[in-house]
Symmetry: C2
C-alpha cells in the first residue's frame, strides 16, 4: 500500500539506499573509523548537511550498516545450513562454520563491525539486537535437532556443568530447546571458539603463524564439533 506513495517518498527511499551503499563501499576500503559522512555526501554530489536529513547522526548510519550486516551474515549461514542434508548434523555444523568464516573474509570490515571491538562512542541500539540472533539461532537449531534425533555422542569430559549455572543454561535453552545443561555450555564453548578463530584470522592474529588457514580452521572446528558429540557422517 505504501509501496509507491508520493514521489518524495520514493526518491527518499532511493537516496537512503544509495547512502548506505556508498557507506558500505567506504567501509570496505577505509574501515569503520574512516567512514565519513562528508565523503559519502561528496560522492553523491550532495552537501554534507543534506545527509542529516536521512541519517540524524553518523551512529544511525552505522546502525543501518550493522543491521544489514547481521542480516547478510545470517542469510549466508542459513543458506549453508539449508544446502546440507538435514540429517547430517556434523556436516551442517561444518558447513555453517565455513559459511561464517568465508563471509567474514569476504567482508572483513563488516564482520569487524559486528564482532570486533565496539566502535568508540557508539552504543548499539535495541534494533540491532533483533537482527543479531539470526546466525546463532542456526547453531542452536542444529544442536537441538541433533540432540533430539539422538545423533549426539558427546565424549566424557571431566567437569559437567555445575548446578550454579542452571539459570544461565535455562536462558540459553531458548536457543537450543530441549538440550541438557552440560551440552548447552559445550555449545557455548564451540560457538565462542568458532568466532574466536574467525576473529583472530580476520584481525590478522594468525599472520606469520599459520599457512594453511582453511585447513587449520577446519581441524579446529571439527574438534569443537566432536566436543558436542557430532559424529562425521
Amino acid at each position: 500500500m505504501t509501496a509507491s506513495r508520493t514521489a518524495r517518498e520514493r526518491v527518499r527511499a532511493e537516496l537512503t539506499k544509495e547512502i548506505t551503499d556508498i557507506a558500505r563501499r567506504q567501509l570496505a576500503t577505509e574501515g569503520a573509523g574512516g567512514l565519513s559522512l562528508r565523503a559519502v555526501a561528496r560522492e553523491m554530489g550532495m552537501v554534507s548537511s543534506a545527509i542529516y536529513r536521512y541519517f540524524p547522526s553518523r551512529d544511525d548510519l552505522l546502525t543501518a550498516l550493522i543491521i544489514d550486516g547481521y542480516n547478510a551474515l545470517g542469510a549466508a549461514v542459513e543458506r549453508a545450513d539449508e544446502d546440507s542434508p538435514p540429517g547430517d548434523f556434523a556436516g551442517r555444523w561444518l558447513a555453517v562454520c565455513h559459511a561464517v568464516r568465508e563471509w567474514a573474509l569476504a567482508h572483513p570490515h563488516e564482520y569487524t563491525l559486528l564482532y570486533g571491538s565496539p566502535v568508540p562512542g557508539y552504543q548499539a541500539p535495541e534494533e540491532t539486537i533483533a537482527a543479531r540472533v539470526r546466525d546463532v539461532a542456526v547453531f542452536g537449531r542444529i544442536l537441538a535437532q541433533a540432540y533430539e534425533a539422538g545423533a549426539l555422542a558427546p565424549p566424557d569430559l571431566a567437569p559437567p556443568a555445575p548446578a550454579t549455572l542452571s539459570a544461565d543454561a535455562a536462558n540459553l535453552r531458548q536457543i537450543m530447546p530441549g538440550v541438557p545443561d552440560d551440552l548447552i555450555f559445550r555449545g557455548l564453548t564451540a560457538w565462542t571458539g568458532l568466532y574466536g578463530w574467525v576473529s583472530f584470522e580476520v584481525f590478522g592474529q594468525f599472520e606469520n603463524t599459520i599457512q594453511d588457514k582453511r585447513g587449520s580452521f577446519e581441524q579446529s572446528v571439527r574438534t569443537l564439533g566432536a566436543l558436542l558429540g557430532l559424529k562425521p557422517a
Copy 2:
C-alpha cells in the same frame, strides 16, 4: 651507563613516560579511537605540537602503548603461572586463563588494542611482534611440560590432524616443543577458544545473555582443558 647522562635526557625520559601515562588514562576512558594528542598535550600543559618532539606521530604513541600492553598482560599471565604448583598442569591452565580474563576486564581498552579489531590505518610495526609472544609462550610451556611429564590423557576425538597440516604444526612446535601434531592443534583450538571468550565478554557480546560470566567462563575453559587431556588435580 646511560642511566643518567645529561639533564636533558633525564627530563626527556620523564616527559615521555608522562605522555604514555596520560595517554593510557585517556585510552581507558575514551578508547583507542578517542586517543587525542591534543588532549594529552592539554592535560600536560603543553602545546600540541610539542608532543611531536617525543612521538613523531599518533601511531608511534599507539605502538608504545601496545608494547606496554603486551608486556603487562604477559607479566600477569607469567605471574599466575608461577603462583601455581608446577606439577598441577590443569591448575596452571585454569589460573592462566583467569589471569587473561581478569587482566582484560581490568584493562578493557588496552586489551582491545591488543586483541580487538585493528585500529584503522594503523600498521603494527615489527617491534610489537616481539612483545606479543609473551603470553602465548606461557600456554605453550604448560602444554609442553604436561606432555613431557606424561600428565596428559586427551580424549579420543574423531578426526586427528591430517598430514597436510604437518608444516604448520612444525612451525607451532617452536612454542610447544615435543608435542605431537594433533595435540598442537588442540592447543591452538583451546587458545583461540580462550581469547574468543574473553573478547566476546570484553566487547559486550554476552550482555543480556549470560549472568554468571565468571562461572560460565570457567566451565568453558575447563572443557577446553579437558580437550587437551588436562586432568584436574
